[in-house]
């Protein structure tokens, strides 16, 4: 917390509250994200709606655009406030080296590897049964793949994916299996925004 001039975050959300809630996110990062939040918020009512997100042009041509937007909104709600916004983005903070050796007693920070993967898992698993079923996988595949692939091909790809990952034989990917598939991948780097560093 440097000696910066008040940005209005204090009045709206309470910056000390924010700093406590999102452990070790710095002051300047919060200010920056807050100004981004306000610039997205056209209605100026302190919350973002889905339309506000859809106004971002790059998101329109991102295959997972809609799902990502949905991830920001809590269950059944149409508006997200700054805290919710920050909470989702906090998953993507890079893991710093000095954090890895912190005490394990406290709650796991939002940007730990496990929580990052959990966030990604939730994007696959729409019905929230803690399993990625074949249909859910097919939906995501269809979104990510061009129009040249037929349903049969897609189906076989999905089958293959599940077969590789599935260990308990339920023809679905549980969270543990998902983690196992990605154990060789540098998730910390793939799911971290550089600028938040």
């Amino acid at each position: 917390m440097g000696g910066k001039k008040p940005t209005g975050v204090e009045t709206k959300e309470g910056i000390t509250d924010m700093l406590f809630f999102f452990s070790s996110v710095s002051h300047s990062q919060i200010t920056r994200l807050y100004s981004r939040f306000t610039s997205l918020d056209k209605g100026e009512n302190g919350t973002l709606s889905r339309e506000d997100f859809q106004r971002i042009p790059e998101l329109a041509i991102n295959p997972l655009g809609d799902r990502i937007i949905n991830a920001f909104f809590p269950e059944g709600e149409d508006q997200v406030n700054f805290r919710g916004f920050m909470r989702t983005l906090a998953h993507f903070r890079p893991i710093e080296d000095n954090e890895k050796s912190k005490d394990q007693n406290g709650p796991e920070p939002l940007n730990s590897r496990s929580n990052k993967l959990h966030f990604a898992f939730r994007l696959y698993d729409l019905d929230k049964d803690d399993k990625i079923s074949r249909d859910e996988l097919l939906q995501v595949l269809r979104m990510m793949v061009g129009v040249n692939i037929s349903d049969e091909q897609l189906g076989s790809i999905a089958d293959r994916t599940i077969q590789e990952a599935d260990q308990d034989g339920d023809c679905a990917i549980s969270f543990a299996e998902f983690v196992k598939v990605l154990e060789k991948v540098d998730v910390e780097q793939k799911m971290s925004i550089r600028f938040l560093h």
């Binding site: 920056r32 100004s35 981004r36 610039s39 997205l40 339309e51 997100f53 859809q54 106004r55 042009p57 790059e58 998101l59 329109a60 041509i61 991102n62 295959p63 997972l64 655009g65 809609d66 990502i68 983005l89 993507f92 990604a120 994007l123 696959y124 995501v140 269809r142 990510m144 793949v145 061009g146 129009v147 040249n148 692939i149 037929s150 349903d151 049969e152 091909q153 076989s156 790809i157 089958d159 293959r160 994916t161 077969q163 590789e164 990952a165 998902f178 598939v181 990605l182 060789k184 991948v185 540098d186 998730v187 793939k190 799911m191 971290s192 925004i193 550089r194 600028f195 938040l196 560093h197």
Partner: protein, 720 residues
């Protein structure tokens, strides 16, 4: 010698000394070798080329069916041949695929130039004519800088402008004084025999050798793919240090000629720097705005629209040079300033023309510069004092490295985005010198040690371009060593990795990984309130072509729906689809874990998974921005999303109409945005669309669901 005769005549006739002498030398030596010399020997070396021709004509009154009249076409002929040589050399390089990856193109071109120079030297037993500084500064340099300025990705540029300016201004000054003083120290050593090179001369030399050259940097950085920020740092620095170089060079040169130097002169020099830099920017912006204003009225004469872009830019360069301001800064300011307005005003075809011509000219210029560099190296212009040269090279490297280290230390303290040590190394190592130094050294007044400086400059340039240029790529690869995988990624891994990539891209876009700067918003406000009304042609847009296209698309889609009866995928490449289908059906009976099926799937995935954005560099000399990315990808995604919206609509009524209504109300409310949005979608892919839209502030970037479709529609139309 015959070629001097020709040269003289051409000098009076065409006035373009430099090119003519170079080309005349080359061609006439070839022609002589071919035995056509007999024709030339009949010419007399006198004034009045017409008289000479007429005399010749009167001498032989017969009608000849086949005669050779070379001087008539000499200058344009030779210029064209020279350019042809350059372009053919380029083709030759790319025919052999592996070569450009090992040796950067600039090195190869210099090599060709060396060969040409050697040939001329061998034939004439004299130094080949040196590249005229005027030709370089007036004709060869502007297209390159214009290209750089026009296609400069403005968002990263302005994000990092502080760092860039710091490196450009402070870094260059640091380098100049560092190199100047240390070389003076070297000159003091008695053993080298350089005592007569004064401090001022050394500083003068330092000022011209310290500047990083945009041409060389661009040429080499193209081959290596570094991250966007790094690219823009080095690139921006190389462009902007021109202002400092100009001031220091002229300052020291005038000091050399003055008998005594007072402190007020030094302060005048400092003040001059600001005048040069800011003056250049102002000149550029003035011409840029004028150009934008002119294109507002070109609706009925579309054909000459591209001409205005080039004319105004070139004028800004020449005007700035006329006032001894920085021409490079002026042309960059002009290009960046006029870009968004001109693009909104001119037609799509003019826009394409502008882009292609720019790339073409800058490419030709670039090639010619390197060839001329090679040609001019051979000869007797050099005084080879090896200690001096050796130490020049060493000091250039050392001071650049020190400068980058110190400056980065300061930069990192104030910025969230740090410049890592790998980046620092590349910035320091990527400080290449090129043709600008070369031309400046030839512009030096003639004094006793000029040849020494020429030799040193030549060696430094050759060293940086060859040694540093060739090794930078392996070094970059070495620094970015990734963990080697023992086995190929499984299908699941591939899919999930791509999934995460898309996710990260989306999150980055949401979080807005550029800062919301105060000045940027202010500028946008100013822009939307005043500038647009003045500079853009149509302010309230009647039905634009996009809207028409959208309607056409809607109709087509409705027909499709009716015919298909349900929503299936569009087989846009039926042949491909069928072949894949047959392959899959054959394999269906086999066990899914068999390796053949795996390869097949991997191949399908590799071919068909959507790519994440920004797979290519933002600025590239040889391709138009965004050309490498698939256009259809964005279209398909939009169409699929649109379809999914419709599915929701048919599934649950009321949501879609509400969405549409919201969308249309948003459109109506910001109708002033539409013209720019519509007009600006003159480019062929989503990357550019995004970039263009980003240039507007977030507040005016209205993208309701269906107007994204307009973008896709326009793109499809441009493909048709």
């Amino acid at each position: 010698m015959q070629w001097t005769a020709l040269g003289l005549m051409e000098r009076q006739r065409a006035g373009s000394k430099g090119t003519a002498t170079v080309l005349a030398a080359l061609l006439s030596s070839f022609l002589q070798a071919a035995g056509v010399g007999a024709l030339h020997s009949s010419l007399v070396a006198e004034n009045g080329s017409w008289a000479a021709e007429e005399a010749q004509g009167n001498a032989s009154m017969e009608h000849t069916f086949f005669s050779l009249d070379y001087q008539h076409v000499q200058v344009p002929f030779e210029i064209t041949l020279w350019i042809m040589l350059a372009s053919l050399a380029k083709i030759a390089f790319h025919l052999y695929n592996k070569l450009p990856s090992v040796v950067p193109e600039s090195c190869l071109l210099i090599f060709v130039g060396l060969i040409m120079g050697g040939i001329i030297y061998g034939l004439n037993d004299k130094s080949p004519p040196v590249m005229d500084s005027d030709i370089f500064f007036l004709y060869l340099l502007p297209p390159i800088v214009l290209d750089a300025g026009y296609f400069m990705p403005s968002r990263p540029f302005f994000e990092n402008i502080g760092t860039i300016l710091l490196y450009a201004v402070v870094g260059t000054i640091w380098n100049v004084f560092g190199i100047g003083f240390s070389l003076y120290g070297i000159c003091q050593v008695r053993a080298f025999g350089l005592r007569d090179v004064s401090l001022l001369h050394n500083l003068l030399f330092g000022s011209l050798i310290a500047a990083v050259d945009p041409v060389a940097v661009l040429a080499v950085f193209e081959e290596i793919h570094v991250n966007e920020k790094l690219h823009i740092l080095v690139f921006g620095e190389s462009l902007l240090n021109d202002a400092v170089t100009v001031v220091l060079y002229k300052l020291f040169r005038s000091f050399c000629e003055m008998p005594a130097i007072k402190t007020v002169d030094v302060f005048a020099g400092v003040g001059k720097f600001f005048v040069v830099g800011i003056g250049g920017v102002l000149v550029g912006l003035t011409f840029g705005m004028t150009s934008a204003f002119t294109t507002r009225f070109t609706k009925d004469i579309r054909v000459i629209e591209p001409l205005f872009v080039f004319l105004y830019s070139y004028l800004s360069y020449l005007t700035a040079e006329m006032f001894h301001l920085s021409g490079i800064v002026a042309i960059i300011a002009c290009a960046m300033g006029m870009k968004r307005y001109v693009e909104a005003n001119i037609s799509l075809k003019s826009h394409t023309t502008v882009k292609y011509f720019m790339k073409m000219w800058s490419s030709v210029s670039d090639t010619l510069i390197f060839i001329f560099l090679g040609v001019s190296t051979i000869g007797e212009n050099h005084e080879w004092n090896w200690p001096y040269i050796f130490f020049t090279v060493i000091f250039c490297l050392i001071w650049r490295a020190l400068g980058v280290l110190v400056l980065t230390f300061f930069v990192n303290r104030f910025h969230v985005n740090t410049v890592t040590s790998k980046d620092q190394f590349i910035i320091a190592y990527g400080g290449l010198r090129g043709a600008i130094c070369f031309s400046l050294v030839f512009l030096l007044p003639d004094f006793r040690r000029k040849k020494l400086f020429i030799a040193a400059t030549t060696v430094v340039i050759l060293f940086t371009v060859f040694a540093q240029g060739m090794t930078i790529r392996p070094l970059v690869d070495l620094l970015h060593v990734k963990r080697k995988r023992e086995s190929a990624p499984t299908v699941g891994e591939q899919i999930h990795i791509r999934f995460l990539d898309h996710l990260l891209a989306g999150i980055e876009d949401i979080s807005g990984h550029w800062g919301q700067y105060y000045w940027k918003d202010k500028l946008e406000y100013f822009n939307s309130k005043y500038l647009q009304k003045f500079l853009l042609r149509e302010y309230d847009q009647p039905k634009s072509s996009i809207v028409l296209l959208y309607e056409k698309l809607e109709r087509k889609h409705a027909i499709e729906l009716a015919e298909a009866g349900q929503l299936g995928h569009a087989p846009s490449h039926p042949s491909l689809l069928n072949s894949d289908r047959t392959v899959i059906s054959e394999k269906k009976s086999e066990d899914a874990l068999c390796p053949d099926g795996l390869e097949d799937i991997q191949e399908i995935l590799a071919r068909n998974l959507y790519r994440i954005r920004r797979t290519g560099p933002a600025y590239s000399r040889h391709t138009l921005p965004g050309e490498t990315e698939p256009v259809e990808q964005a279209q398909e995604i939009l169409i699929l999303q649109r379809r999914s919206l419709r599915v929701d609509a048919s599934g649950s009524d009321g949501i879609s109409p509400r969405k549409e209504k919201e969308g249309s109300s948003l459109v109506r409310g910001d109708s002033d945005v539409q013209p720019r949005l519509c007009r600006s979608l003159t480019v062929e892919d989503a990357e550019k669309v995004r970039a263009v839209k980003q240039n507007r502030s977030q507040s005016v970037c209205v993208i309701p669901a269906h107007s994204k479709q307009e973008g896709a529609g326009k793109e499809m139309a441009s493909d048709m």
